[in-house]
């Protein structure tokens, strides 16, 4: 295999690198832009946007484990209309494309959020987060049932004027079938994948420090899990695969590209290194000899 080119055209847009900043780990890009940390970033994926404002889960929302991080943010966000009117105008000058991560509690909510946000010209597309609980239909995550994934994807594709990716969940169900369903529903990409369900208990009290008990777990040690899932999904769908999870160095990005990812997200690493996008790109260039 020859060295993969690091710039690319994706969803009709030029990307300076395959590295995308993962949803929930870089806000809407503004803070990192001001810190000078968007150099080398292919794109920013916003935190999740829902129809109504959500204040999020009770604290503590984060819990570090020896080798990773548990998060229970609870989709805290000011709601689609506020995002449209107040946030998107403020980030229209980002030096890289913006993708909006969309969450909902019903199939309809995803479509509704997209309908509101499409009034803005700032973002290039959407990432549909089907890992959240399907409150309208019993509470299991949308993403575990391919049939529901298809319906979400179809509902979004009916209203979306821009490309969208469906961000799958690794927590139950068959991710390959869910990816195929997303594609059939009209998705322009799939993101593999959201956080793995995790938990930490204080053995002395027998209790989870995080109020919701289970949370989303991320760790650089999860890379092999993500590589396997990217490889399986990219062999099953024809739309591009965006990887999400496990990246902590340039070699990890190259490995995910080799596994079949077209774009590679980095999230938790940004907590240590807000300028990770540029660092990863430099590391990759060194490894591949690209200038």
């Amino acid at each position: 295999m020859s060295s993969p080119s690091l710039t690319r055209k994706f969803w009709g847009t030029e990307f300076v690198s395959p590295v995308m900043l993962a949803s929930g780990t870089s806000g809407f890009g503004e803070e990192l832009f001001k810190l000078g940390c968007l150099t080398g970033a292919g794109a920013v994926v916003s935190k999740a946007v829902t129809m109504k404002p959500r204040s999020g889960n009770p604290p503590p929302r984060l819990l570090e484990t020896p080798f990773g991080l548990l998060n229970s943010i609870g989709l805290a966000n000011p709601g689609a209309r506020y995002v449209l009117e107040n946030i998107l105008p403020a980030v229209s000058n980002l030096p890289c494309p913006l993708v909006i991560n969309v969450a909902g509690e019903s199939v309809q909510e995803f479509a509704d959020v997209v309908s509101v946000l499409k009034e803005s010209g700032v973002h290039i597309g959407y990432e549909i987060n089907v890992s959240c609980p399907n409150v309208a239909e019993g509470g299991a995550a949308f993403g575990v049932d391919p049939e529901v994934v298809f319906r979400v994807s179809e509902a979004v594709s009916q209203v979306a004027d821009r490309p969208f990716s469906v961000k799958l969940t690794p927590n139950g169900g068959d991710m390959v079938q869910a990816a195929v369903a997303a594609q059939q529903g009209g998705a322009s990409a799939v993101t593999v994948c959201n956080t793995f369900l995790g938990m930490m208990i204080d053995w002395k009290t027998g209790k989870s420090v995080i109020k919701r008990k289970v949370a989303g777990y991320t760790s650089p040690a999860l890379l092999p899990l993500v590589v396997a899932r990217v490889w399986q999904v990219s062999n099953a769908v024809s739309v591009p695969v965006i990887s999400s999870g496990g990246v902590s160095c340039g070699q990890d990005v190259l490995q995910l590209l080799a596994a079949g990812a077209e774009m590679v997200q980095v999230g938790t690493r940004l907590m240590r290194r807000p300028c990770a996008a540029g660092e990863l790109l430099d590391e990759m260039k060194k490894l591949t000899g690209e200038q």
Partner: protein
């Protein structure tokens, strides 16, 4: 106004000031030239990838060419930081957050419990202060603060008077202050808040702590429950808040 940056700073000195409490001085004209009292920095405790987040520490005071941190060794991150040696290069992001709402024309009363007083020196050095009350469990936990008037109170009476900080809060002290800075464990801060009569509460500012992912406002991990419902981000909307912003009940329930 974004003045923070991510810098590789040289450790200038490191010493244990109390059992398990370390003072580390970093060289960083970039950070010290823009830092304000009450702001904090995010320190990388180790090279490599673990732990996956940094450690937030308040700037205790400015030094000739940088700033000093004062921290307690409580877990893995601070254990690693206690091993910093002069000459080490450490990645530090800062200054971060909204510090004390400082107005040079005002006179401050500072009330600190335990490690909450780490950070007071910078404030004392920047404003006029009428007094500093420092509470601790015992003599070996009394954070050193250089100020004109320092009142020390320890739970075991091993230094200063015996008791809790609240015992030292008097109408006279409160009346002499235009602003009141409170920092310490949640229970201590709530007790102080409850001890201060309504009439003086609008002067109170409290410095909060929360588990942080980033420290620069992007992850929504560091929420502090506020009066009237909802949350504020400790890292960018705080760590210092007007006392009446805090929903003490929900904050205590939250735990850390």
């Amino acid at each position: 106004m974004q003045t923070a940056g991510d810098y590789v700073c040289t450790v200038l000195s490191s010493r244990q000031v109390l059992p398990g409490v370390f003072s580390v001085e970093f060289e960083s004209p970039e950070i010290s030239s823009v830092a304000l009292p009450g702001q904090f920095v995010q320190v990388e405790p180790s090279p490599g990838v673990f732990p996956v987040t940094r450690r937030p520490v308040t700037i205790n005071r400015l030094t000739e060419s940088g700033f000093e941190l004062l921290f307690d060794v409580v877990g893995r991150g601070t254990q690693l930081m206690a091993r910093f040696l002069p000459g080490d290069m450490v990645r530090v992001m800062g200054p971060l957050g909204k510090g004390w709402d400082v107005d040079q024309d005002k006179t401050w009363l500072l009330i600190g419990g335990g490690l909450g007083a780490a950070g007071f020196q910078f404030l004392v050095d920047s404003v006029r202060s009428s007094g500093v009350i420092i509470g601790a469990s015992g003599a070996d936990r009394v954070i050193p603060v250089q100020a004109q008037t320092v009142h020390i109170v320890t739970e075991d009476g091993s230094r200063g008077s015996r008791g809790l900080v609240t015992a030292l809060i008097s109408e006279e002290l409160l009346a002499r202050a235009d602003s009141i800075a409170v920092c310490g464990p949640v229970a201590m801060m709530e007790a102080v808040w409850n001890t201060i009569p309504e009439a003086h509460r609008s002067k109170v500012q409290v410095s909060t702590e929360s588990r942080m992912g980033c420290g620069w406002g992007v992850c929504d991990g560091c929420s502090i429950p506020v009066s009237g419902g909802g949350y504020r981000k400790c890292c960018v909307e705080g760590p210092v808040f007007p006392g009446d912003t805090i929903d003490w009940k929900r904050w205590k329930e939250a735990g850390l």
